[in-house]
């Protein structure tokens, strides 16, 4: 039996090793390798929570191993045996106390981070707004400032806070760009705000994270962070060189399908607001959260 | 008078350590069931509270038929009172009065259900059906769920009346009557909430 345990332990260790080795290239752990302030803030909380948990888990595992070995029922075991000893106020206070303290610390960090993330990551740069609509099974991005639209990719200026405003014209999905920061649901009839920001120029992986049916697995998109100048250039080229998204065009786009990356030089007036409203938006005015405390009217931020 | 085994058991086995009062168990079990039923209604109340403004531009709470639901309320309240009278008759051991009051209660309950069906169908005739808006869906479901409970209670009570005819007042029928009267009062209490939350707050 002992030999068995040894073999088992060894194989588990070996496998852990393999997994770790496979992950040596830590750039693949995109969640742990954020490229923007929101992702960094969340990573900080992840690290804090890991440390706080480890503080408890590791000693407990140590005690566990010690006890299982020391108090085994075998001939000649000289460890004390006290079958009636079943209460200790001091010990109880210790092990109710320690977790309470740890949870309290983690609770404070959690609360702080939660509040921080409702604000733009940097205050001194003027944010841009990108409206996001999840559909079956594609993503549409509309830029109210530029009046252009894209499908399955978004361009944003690096170093500028982006207020993504999320809704859905299909079953609920979730908008997730791991390297920029955590996700938020896109829900029919609601428009929710999510602050993200890319610090570095680059192309980031984005995905729909909430199951929406047959084509769900293909709902990835790219978020391309470029310099402000390149962003303006890109917007101009889309404005000049891309087709128009008409009402009829949207009706077609809305039907369940998979799409490649598309760009549109313009879209029907109030497209995003109409999508929100036709799915019940009028009932949720009070709930619409722009992330910065302003209300639904913020959606009309088109100049 | 025929007596069931379980009745015999609870009547003269008090010396037995294994004695479990079967009747008491059932009453306790039924109380707990009522708690769960209460939570079921609470879920529908919650849904109604969320959806009551979601009228989709159609029928709103202001359009409820005031005399209609007031009469329904009175009839149900009176039936609750008569079921109470039935229990009083039961405690006096008066089988005739007991059956009489139970029949009155059943008839009042049936009238209540009839009025409710009339209310629903006249709303439907005006086009206010369950498919029209989330508000109407939650309204019909909540009130209908209560109506189904009452209907079920009517059949149940009818069954008990038949048993009373056959068996008379025994410890078993006694328990059964006290359980159904509990049920009936419970439905009445739920209706008071429906009356207040759905109808009164609707027409206000």
């Amino acid at each position: 039996m002992r030999k068995w345990i040894q073999t088992a332990k060894f194989s588990i260790l070996a496998l852990f090793g393999m997994v770790l080795l496979a992950g040596c290239d830590n750039s693949k752990y995109i969640v742990l390798n954020p490229k923007g302030p929101v992702g960094h803030e969340e990573l900080r909380l992840i690290i804090i929570s890991v440390i706080l948990c480890a503080v408890i888990i590791i000693p407990v595992l140590g005690i566990f191993v010690y006890i299982t070995i020391r108090f085994r029922d075998k001939e000649g075991n000289k460890a004390p045996y006290q079958p009636e000893w079943a209460d200790s106020k001091v010990l109880e206070i210790i092990w109710w106390g320690i977790p309470i303290v740890i949870i309290a610390i983690l609770g404070v960090f959690t609360a702080k981070t939660t509040l921080n993330l409702t604000k733009p990551p940097v205050q001194n740069v003027k944010p841009i707004v990108v409206q996001v609509t999840s559909m079956d099974w594609k993503w549409m991005f509309t830029y109210p400032d530029k009046k252009i639209a894209t499908v399955n990719y978004a361009e944003i200026p690096a170093g500028v806070p982006v207020q993504f405003i999320l809704t859905s014209d299909a079953p609920m999905n979730s908008f997730w760009v791991p390297q920029l920061g955590g996700q938020e649901y896109t829900m029919p009839g609601m428009s929710m705000g999510l602050w993200l920001q890319a610090d570095k120029v680059g192309t980031y992986f984005g995905a729909g994270a909430n199951f929406t049916g047959k084509g769900f697995a293909h709902m990835q998109f790219k978020v391309k962070a470029v310099s402000q100048a390149d962003f303006n250039k890109w917007a101009d080229s889309v404005k000049k060189g891309s087709p128009v998204l008409t009402k009829a065009g949207y009706t077609k786009l809305e039907k369940p399908s998979l799409e490649k990356e598309l760009s549109f030089s313009s879209y029907p007036n109030g497209l995003f607001e109409n999508i929100v409203n036709k799915n019940g938006g009028k009932y949720y005015h009070h709930m619409s959260n722009m992330g910065d405390g302003s209300s639904m009217s913020g959606m009309d931020m088109k100049k | 008078m025929q007596q069931s085994v379980s009745a015999k058991f609870s009547d003269h086995d008090h010396h037995d350590h294994g004695h479990v009062d079967q009747g008491g168990l059932k009453v306790l079990g039924f109380w707990i069931f009522l708690v769960t039923d209460c939570l079921l209604f609470a879920t529908f109340f919650a849904a109604f509270a969320v959806l009551r403004t979601h009228t989709n531009g159609g029928f709103t709470g202001k359009e409820f038929d005031v005399p209609g639901f007031v009469i329904e309320t009175f009839i149900l309240l009176i039936s609750s009172f008569t079921s109470g009278l039935a229990v009083l008759a039961l405690n006096r051991g008066n089988k005739k009065a007991l059956i009489g009051w139970l029949i009155v209660t059943v008839l009042l309950g049936a009238t209540f259900v009839g009025l409710e069906i009339h209310e629903f169908s006249s709303m439907a005739a005006e086009g206010a059906t369950i498919t029209k808006s989330a508000f109407l869906t939650s309204f019909f479901s909540l009130v209908g769920l209560h109506g189904l409970h009452v209907t079920f209670g009517i059949f149940w009570m009818t069954g008990l009346i038949l048993q009373l005819f056959k068996k008379g007042i025994t410890s078993v029928t006694k328990r059964k009557i006290s359980i159904i009267s509990l049920y009936w009062h419970f439905l009445d209490a739920v209706w008071i909430f429906i009356f207040t939350v759905v109808y009164l707050m609707g027409v206000m």
Partner: protein, 653 residues
């Protein structure tokens, strides 16, 4: 409903399932007819109201469901083993993960839990049955028929494919037309009503049926865990019933509770379903905690440490679990205040859970630990659950959850707590109480093979999934392309995970073989006290006679049997003459089974929107209730002489 779509067609795997279902059915029918077993089946099992037999039926059903859910898991892992795999198409994969989740929680964990409730609680509290034996049978048959209804969707009509909790609007008619989603609704609805009844039954049983000398604060901890789980069932299953009813109204009558149009509110469903769903996972884990408490004390030959603290923490868990549901959708954007409250409540649950671990460890401390099969599973539980709990605390930190949510990190977490906490716990309980129910122990050698394969398989399968979460892989993807597979590094980890799933599949074979082998060769237990136990269930013969206790036992404090044994030893095993009395027992009845058949007819009818059939079924259900109300002859007496003879035959006199 187009009848040409009645049978699911077009997939060789489904034809295979069709064929095997027909063959197995024929084999069973043939066996029962050839050996003239139909009467036996009806008298001994279908109409039984004996809690022990009902427990065994729950157990059997849950093991079959474990097999079905496990096959689903392996199919999923096969599909994901390599990028761009074409083994399963999207629709089929979606059906399989929906089925896997639903079956594992509702048709495997729940009945396994009820099996333990039924097999153990009355014996442990010195009762002759549960409070409502016939209702107990109703619960079982409702569960069974619900499970069958859900399972036939695989070959008839098509399975649900909107996820195990079927969020609308995806699960509404607009996006999921057809019977599949209805099968899901009615399968769960029917078995859920059964679960609710079980909850009521065991609360009353524990409060009222304890042997008169057993005080609540001296009750064994497993029974305490059942009480706290039952109270939680009471609090949340009505919400499930209501929510499913609303979804039914939407789908069947064209209502708008959760639709996208006409003012429906899909997010309300998400709130409701998790108000049930989160406490539900605590419901299934609490009895596992109870099992561990019994096992650790027994095999450490020591009193459980911090009994009051254990009881308090279980009740705390079942109460606080009502206030954590929103942590399943921190990403809904409900606002910082809401998220903070629910995050903190979720973390608070970790406190009593952690305290329990400390208490178990200190029960072993200064004890004498025998490493038996049940104890092995406890050993496996501690590290697995600690790490699973830690990742749970990580998930509870709301802003960090924005990064884990719906990713494989989450998948790894809940499998770690559900397998490490619940499955290990139930298996520990199964190995522990098996000799009590069947009179023999399960083979050690095969059990150890299964155990180690489980451990290795589990870690190989799920550790890579934590990493996959950090790599941005989201759940419920039926495939991933070459870029994600290689450039983003998902493929190697997925492949390793698939190997782990296969290892776990192999252990199931070992365990099935272990049971079959032990029926013939298992170590027989003639003492009734296979493990040198501490609680009352070990004071009676194994398997126990139909009335459990010939004379209701006297409980003197906690671990009463342990101290009774010491007293007996001091007295030199002197036997006092006993006088038996007649015992009052409930009669078997076919009504629960017939009622369940009508539920099946109702569920099947509504599933295919044949409302006439559904209504006939419901009328049948009401009819059986009515018929039962008119039954007065429901009990019988076992005479004192019969009791004496039985006890003699069992070697107890």
């Amino acid at each position: 409903m187009n009848t040409s779509h009645f049978f699911v067609t077009g997939d060789p795997m489904i034809y295979g399932a069709d064929a095997s279902i027909v063959l197995v059915t024929l084999a069973i029918v043939f066996y029962l007819s050839y050996f003239k077993k139909w009467g036996w089946l009806w008298r001994e099992w279908i109409t039984t109201v004996d809690h022990k037999k009902i427990g065994i039926m729950y157990l059997l059903a849950s093991l079959i469901m474990l097999f079905r859910g496990g096959v689903d898991a392996i199919l999923m892992r096969l599909q994901l083993a390599i990028p761009n795999n074409h083994f399963l198409p999207s629709e089929h994969y979606n059906e399989i993960f929906t089925t896997h989740g639903t079956i594992m929680i509702l048709f495997m964990a729940m009945p396994f839990m009820f099996a333990l409730f039924n097999m153990v609680v009355p014996l442990q509290i010195g009762a002759r049955d549960v409070a409502f034996p016939m209702l107990n049978a109703v619960s079982f048959w409702l569960f069974f028929i619900g499970a069958m209804l859900f399972n036939i969707s695989f070959v008839i009509g098509g399975s649900a494919d909107a996820g195990w909790l079927s969020y609308p609007p995806l699960s509404e008619n607009q996006f999921s037309p057809g019977p599949g989603q209805n099968f899901w609704i009615w399968g769960i609805q029917i078995s859920g009503i059964g679960s609710l009844a079980t909850g009521i039954n065991f609360i009353v049983t524990i409060l009222k049926m304890r042997t008169p000398s057993m005080r609540l604060r001296e009750m064994p901890l497993f029974s305490w865990s059942v009480l706290s789980a039952s109270i939680a069932i009471l609090g949340v299953f009505p919400i499930l019933t209501g929510t499913l009813l609303m979804l039914t109204i939407d789908r069947l009558l064209g209502g708008h509770f959760f639709t996208m149009d006409a003012g429906g509110n899909p997010m309300m469903y998400v709130n409701f379903i998790w108000m049930w769903g989160h406490p539900e996972v605590y419901i299934v884990v609490l009895p596992a905690f109870g099992v561990y408490s019994e096992i650790v004390a027994t095999f450490s030959r020591k009193r459980i440490f911090g009994y009051s603290s254990m009881v308090f923490s279980m009740i705390a868990i079942s109460v606080v679990s009502y206030y954590t549901w929103a942590h399943h959708f921190f990403t809904m954007g409900a606002g910082a205040d809401v998220n903070i409250v629910f995050a903190v409540c979720t973390m608070i649950i970790a406190i009593p859970t952690g305290v329990k671990v400390f208490n178990w460890l200190f029960t072993m401390f200064r004890g004498r630990i025998r490493v038996t099969q049940p104890m092995l599973w406890f050993y496996a539980f501690v590290p697995t659950f600690l790490v699973g709990g830690a990742t749970g605390v990580m998930l509870a930190a709301a802003p960090a959850d924005y990064q884990y949510h719906n990713s494989y990190f989450l998948i790894a977490h809940f499998h770690q707590v559900l397998i490490g906490g619940v499955v290990f716990g139930y298996l520990a309980g199964l190995y522990y109480w098996w000799p009590k129910l069947f009179g023999f122990k399960l083979n050690d050698r095969l059990g150890k093979w299964a155990f180690w394969l489980w451990q290795i398989g589990f870690y190989v399968c799920f550790m890579p999934q934590y990493a996959l979460g950090f790599m941005g892989m989201t759940r419920r993807m039926y495939t991933y392309n070459q870029t994600m597979g290689w450039d983003m590094g998902w493929a190697p980890l997925n492949f390793i995970s698939t190997i782990g799933a296969f290892l776990m599949g192999i252990c199931f074979i070992f365990q099935a073989w272990q049971i079959i082998y032990s029926i013939k060769h298992g170590e027989r237990d003639v003492t009734g006290d296979a493990w040198d136990g501490r609680t009352l269930e070990w004071s009676i013969p194994s398997p126990p006679p139909v009335y459990n206790f010939a004379i209701l036992p006297t409980a003197k404090g906690r671990d009463t049997w342990w101290y009774q044994k010491q007293e007996m030893k001091q007295d030199g095993y002197k036997k006092e003459p006993v006088t038996f009395e007649a015992i009052h027992m409930p009669k078997n009845t076919g009504i629960p089974f017939i009622m369940a058949i009508f539920w099946f007819i109702a569920g099947f009818g509504f599933t295919f929107q044949w409302n006439w059939m559904g209504i006939i079924g419901l009328i049948g259900v009401a009819g059986t209730l009515f018929a039962r109300s008119f039954q007065y002859d429901t009990d019988y007496w076992i005479t004192a002489e019969e009791v004496e003879q039985t006890e003699k035959a069992l070697g107890r006199l």
